[in-house]
Symmetry: D4
Subunit: 248 residues, 8 copies
Amino acid sequence: MDIKSLEMLLEDVKGDKVTVEEAIEKLKDLPFKDLGFAKIDNHRELRVGYPEVIYCEGKTTEQVKAIIEFMDSKKVNILATRANKEMYEKVKEICSKAEYNELGRTIIVKNKDITATESYIAIVTAGTSDIKVAEEAAVTAEILGNRVKRIFDVGVAGIHRLFNRLEDIRGAKVIIVIAGMEGALASVVGGLVDKPVIAVPTSIGYGANFNGLAALLSMLNSCASGVSVVNIDNGFGAAYLASMINKI
Amino acid sequence: MDIKSLEMLLEDVKGDKVTVEEAIEKLKDLPFKDLGFAKIDNHRELRVGYPEVIYCEGKTTEQVKAIIEFMDSKKVNILATRANKEMYEKVKEICSKAEYNELGRTIIVKNKDITATESYIAIVTAGTSDIKVAEEAAVTAEILGNRVKRIFDVGVAGIHRLFNRLEDIRGAKVIIVIAGMEGALASVVGGLVDKPVIAVPTSIGYGANFNGLAALLSMLNSCASGVSVVNIDNGFGAAYLASMINKI
Amino acid sequence: MDIKSLEMLLEDVKGDKVTVEEAIEKLKDLPFKDLGFAKIDNHRELRVGYPEVIYCEGKTTEQVKAIIEFMDSKKVNILATRANKEMYEKVKEICSKAEYNELGRTIIVKNKDITATESYIAIVTAGTSDIKVAEEAAVTAEILGNRVKRIFDVGVAGIHRLFNRLEDIRGAKVIIVIAGMEGALASVVGGLVDKPVIAVPTSIGYGANFNGLAALLSMLNSCASGVSVVNIDNGFGAAYLASMINKI
Amino acid sequence: MDIKSLEMLLEDVKGDKVTVEEAIEKLKDLPFKDLGFAKIDNHRELRVGYPEVIYCEGKTTEQVKAIIEFMDSKKVNILATRANKEMYEKVKEICSKAEYNELGRTIIVKNKDITATESYIAIVTAGTSDIKVAEEAAVTAEILGNRVKRIFDVGVAGIHRLFNRLEDIRGAKVIIVIAGMEGALASVVGGLVDKPVIAVPTSIGYGANFNGLAALLSMLNSCASGVSVVNIDNGFGAAYLASMINKI
Amino acid sequence: MDIKSLEMLLEDVKGDKVTVEEAIEKLKDLPFKDLGFAKIDNHRELRVGYPEVIYCEGKTTEQVKAIIEFMDSKKVNILATRANKEMYEKVKEICSKAEYNELGRTIIVKNKDITATESYIAIVTAGTSDIKVAEEAAVTAEILGNRVKRIFDVGVAGIHRLFNRLEDIRGAKVIIVIAGMEGALASVVGGLVDKPVIAVPTSIGYGANFNGLAALLSMLNSCASGVSVVNIDNGFGAAYLASMINKI
Amino acid sequence: MDIKSLEMLLEDVKGDKVTVEEAIEKLKDLPFKDLGFAKIDNHRELRVGYPEVIYCEGKTTEQVKAIIEFMDSKKVNILATRANKEMYEKVKEICSKAEYNELGRTIIVKNKDITATESYIAIVTAGTSDIKVAEEAAVTAEILGNRVKRIFDVGVAGIHRLFNRLEDIRGAKVIIVIAGMEGALASVVGGLVDKPVIAVPTSIGYGANFNGLAALLSMLNSCASGVSVVNIDNGFGAAYLASMINKI
Amino acid sequence: MDIKSLEMLLEDVKGDKVTVEEAIEKLKDLPFKDLGFAKIDNHRELRVGYPEVIYCEGKTTEQVKAIIEFMDSKKVNILATRANKEMYEKVKEICSKAEYNELGRTIIVKNKDITATESYIAIVTAGTSDIKVAEEAAVTAEILGNRVKRIFDVGVAGIHRLFNRLEDIRGAKVIIVIAGMEGALASVVGGLVDKPVIAVPTSIGYGANFNGLAALLSMLNSCASGVSVVNIDNGFGAAYLASMINKI
Amino acid sequence: MDIKSLEMLLEDVKGDKVTVEEAIEKLKDLPFKDLGFAKIDNHRELRVGYPEVIYCEGKTTEQVKAIIEFMDSKKVNILATRANKEMYEKVKEICSKAEYNELGRTIIVKNKDITATESYIAIVTAGTSDIKVAEEAAVTAEILGNRVKRIFDVGVAGIHRLFNRLEDIRGAKVIIVIAGMEGALASVVGGLVDKPVIAVPTSIGYGANFNGLAALLSMLNSCASGVSVVNIDNGFGAAYLASMINKI
């Protein structure tokens, strides 16, 4: 509510077109409306295909099932991340549209059509073990309405594999680079493209990798410009941000 | 050089329109051209206003002066980051166009006009001590051709200051959030907007801050979606990425 | 024993009202009594409703059962923390009054009535996953004789949820803020209230969260004044301290 | 502004007692007022003796001087922390009331009388090197209107020194324990008293102390209940919180 | 392809000895050939006995089985590391030549004869618990065509055991030293020989060992010259490098 | 072999009392004998009751059984640490003298009588959870021939418990202090006695304890003189060292 | 005061040999006397040659001078550690007996004769850079009345240097091993002797040494039994403990 | 001394060609000679051009000067690392042959001719700031008698620079890769060559680089085989090892 609308409302009160009670009703939650919270809260349901998201880690199978059942009744699209197979099977019982991505550990329910963007997000991984994070990112990006190109297993140990796919990478509007171990791929890709690179360190590795710390620090210190970083294994977060950029 | 151009070149050799020497000259650096490196390497000089960047940390005043003198002779725009005042004064002697931003520790030389974007980058800081990183970001964004809005000192300890500026923040195409101490501002802003947020942890703080580690970890673990992180105090990197996004 | 009592005792010895042996008996453990240890040691049993506390982690089910059985025979109130369900079931066999809080993993036995304070402790969590720590805190606070208000799932990613409950938070005499991930909620609450805030980082999160380190450092570096921190997941400790403050 | 006041205002608009412009003026910043920010923002100036606080680290002497000059003109009390002697000398030139605590590195300006509480805050240090943090805490507590007892150099290496002062410690309403090295004093005091203990780790020590990390971890893991922790060397923060508790 | 070959090719095009199509065929993958990737990619299959390597960690038994079945059909030698016994048993079903080293957790398949070098690699361990890493290294070195001497359990706690084997150690062309706990053996061996020492920290130990960090830091800080370090528990990597050096 | 013996041997060669071959035989392993290694290696078997020690962690039950069976046949005393109950039961089958300490996870076999020292080692723990480490220490100390006094559960949270046992602690020749959480007990005991204190941090605790790091750093930074530290949970190591000191 | 003395005092009160006032005077500080603190506090002055110790780090030259002047007037022996040369020169002005050890940065004042023990402490260093810590230890040990043998620069990179001095090391009653970098010397010495070894990690090194962390972790994880560790660079602490053991 | 020499010596004693005293003289340090230490100790002086090495960090200018003066008198080659300019100037006064490498901070004195190997060591750096470490390596390698190729500033941010120099890198017998920031260059080079790669992390960078930790962890986790790592900034160590390999 801007100053103009407020003025009009007050004039209406003055002119008896609006009762005091009605005005109070409109004004009492002004703080939130005016701050724009409503936009955030409502836009998900309003825009076609924008999904409800459930982070399943730490939730019981029963809880996940109940939440999805409720959401499904609202006929919105649903994305559940970090979901194990047992969760999927229970969900499937009450929601036949549910689809499971075993590698990415995601459940999706498409109740509304999703129109994908023309521009695409490139999702690039260093190794095959990073694919599970990549699939979480890909499923997320797709249900958010983005076209995705998967470019997997192009790590720097055999850098010609990367060059073979360079055209596809450069054609993207935004690039997600997913790598464990030393995470060098983010810097190499960042040096080869002129597009935003979102780097996702993974916990793939052992010993002095310290569960992804090596890749994380590596990516934060990238000598290439245009690279930013999200949390270790956070495929969802990278895709959410990439979707924002891809849809600009 | 694509297959088509290559075919034409070879036909020209065959038809004696191009000598073998000329063809060699064109082909010998084919590997790089074909990989597209040239685009990266050349676009900086080619596009009006795209600056050459010098990272001054660890360089001597004499080195900085010499590099800027050389670049200035090419009539390109120049951005020097992490430059101290002494460097600026020496540079000023040989390059009268040089401008110094004392807080941001940047030297810029504008040899070509820069047309700013209509959309803008919001640069938001938690405290006044974070402004030096913010100024590095702002100067970088501006010389890269972006309109910038500075929204400083709106940290969560007095969250109403943030809400006062929320409209300006939400109006941006991309937002840079710069915060030291516990870095909570990135999450709060991330929760209030639906735009890409680039978080810059700063080394402002003491004790268990561990030179920015607290803010860094805080930002990497942000509960808000759409937030990614660059290195501690890396105002330049955040602005470079923001410029990529803002210019999409 | 103060100087006065000592003087009287010595006069009694002098006047043969007390034998040397009796005086020795009274004086020999003077060091501890005089240091006031006894107060600490005795006040728990003496004051109505003050519970005996058992930390079950690392104890066997049989040990927990035996300890509670013994305490129950003394008719004091009992609080067992970090107790699993199996422990509860065994305890229930020998102590029908035992109550289990599954989320908070606490067993309580109320042998004496507890009168709750009028003022209350607000227990605020960022996410639903933090509730298990919150329940440990709530059960602890309640058996210590405090009124508690639970204000759950008001994290900064959707800050309007927090503002909706602000009145309840501000009405408290002391506030416990429980948050994992980046722990930003502690700073935001600290900035909005003028009451002591006890921050509890939780181990909720993954990757660069490092089992609660991110939230811990975040809270220690809070830019808001009036915030102090207890150990990761230490709901009991926060509630114990909050009770001290609430009862002043 | 509560519902009642809003109703009255609207009735006044309706009854032409208040013009639309006046109503807008009152309503336009409703969001903040209603959220209660104003209370926080205003209470400092309103309540007698509540000081304005300046954190001098990272500010220039000129900046500190200018801020204090401005505040002094408003005739409020002023507390500047982490101020070096040069800052004080410059401030003294324009503000003759300024007092410097060399150990605590604080400047205070008392423009209004401060009435101290009857109850007191005990400030306890392990060693003599911790006194500088203790003085920051003491000066802060005093200008916030608290009575303070300084109990210095009672570390556990000679635990009888602590027992000599136990009565003074136990007489306090809240206790600040300041210790570097291994920080054991917090646990020992926590075990001896039944009062809130705010522990301040200091950076005193060397080697495996890691600039206060040892004391910090020690205090966070205290086996005594009722102990919470603030940042390393954060005397101000501890005193601010202690003042909140002491004034309940 | 050097300039000379390029010139000749172009002359052939000019002289119609080579068609444009043929020239394009030769030139289009010039980038990779010229960069020499082919050498790397092809030499494994070309040289007799050079194995294909599979890192089994994180792969399913079925995946490992399928990969080995495919490779076996190409009649190359195969090395699978970090393979558990179940994997071996499944592989054995379809590949009777498969051999399992239980300690080293390696599967090898020898389809081509391997001629071992005359010079040898000494593989030295501090304790018996380090042998599993040593066996991974030994099997790797052997299938890469190296003679190996195993010198196990000669840690510095009983340094005479080391001296008893000194001649064997000094006779090697390159030495792999494998040690957990404090990793001191690397420095001691490094001080006694004039040969390259590749140090492998192991995760053997507990407490302040931090899963191999103690040995890792110890080895990186070795006071003896000629010592370099690979990742914790990385027997394969050490052997791969040692093989390179041994075959010079 | 000292200079004198060498001279005599050479004189014998010269005088034909010893052949060159015999002299070579005696001289060729001179390096080790002369360095005194033999003393170390032999004294264990030679001195009555000195045990053979087996560290069972990472060994299979079968391996432990086989080693003990072999040692038992030599009729020496045996100490196996970090042994689980299953190991003990298997060992018991072939060695009826085997005794198991369930808390300390030790197996001992006494084949020779052990005469305990008159002076004793005090083994002091902060909490009941530390007793398992204490029992490992106690069993080790006893089989090494030391008298031991167990003084358990005297942590600083209830410091009067410690004072109650102070006489016993001060009567010891050397003191082992075992504590988890914040490890403050080591400093407090160190400040109360004038005897060597060997501090053992334990992994008891959670959260910011980081598996014993808090106690470890705390003990290394002890403000009390005369305190040294062994690895986390290393009861055996502490007892081995204490035995050395106690037997001086 | 034991029970007997207490009985006698009370009999004297009863028999009017002692007034009530006199008895109170004797009894009122009973708590401390009885706990034995007095022994600790008094024995330093009572025993000939036992020094007062001043840790100079963080103290001003004036403070150090004043403390030594006061102590000197009591005619006790004095040891000041971490003292710089300027401190020494100022002290020398008022105390002509003061002696300075430049490497060890110690000032000593001998007001009473010191009789050294017959048995000795061996102080062993790995490198020449560790000597400054060794000298702090040596001076401390000597003023505490111990005979000391300095065995410097015998690190494991040239292990024969160590063996050359092995007899001297083995002849000691207790051994201090001082090493930076990877700290391997502690394990090697621990494996060669059957005496208590006190290991002192030093901050000598760079890079992954992390200011002594590498040596510290190395020593804590020593595979040799009988090794305990003090803080990084803590020569004083090692010598204090060694003196306790040497004087048993 | 081998068995044969020993036999001959004894025969000489027997045959009176050597006195017992002379034989003792030869035999008394047999332990070390026989262990082969002598080879290590003597070979440096014996082989032409093998330098004496001085690590200057922590030494005074006077000490460095004195050591070099003494060595110079022995007419051996000398290498001093981590030497500042002042040291060089003082050395120059007494040793006119001294040469200083300002970037690498090395002083060398060539008293004997050095014949360089035909094969060469490639020294590759990511950035210009890494050159100081590279020069330390280069000077070390050269005085040890190796041919060196410097390939500087070829970091992955502009990967075509690396490919331009690939032939030179592949032509080396062993490669030193020196990189700060994220250290990705080591992996990329490791993936492109089939030669031993010695990776040197440098402390170049800021923020989450943690003084070289990021590059160190990155290199330890390299996905490319054949890469080993030395300490941060350890150019000397890398060159020493590379020389060993290059001279095989």
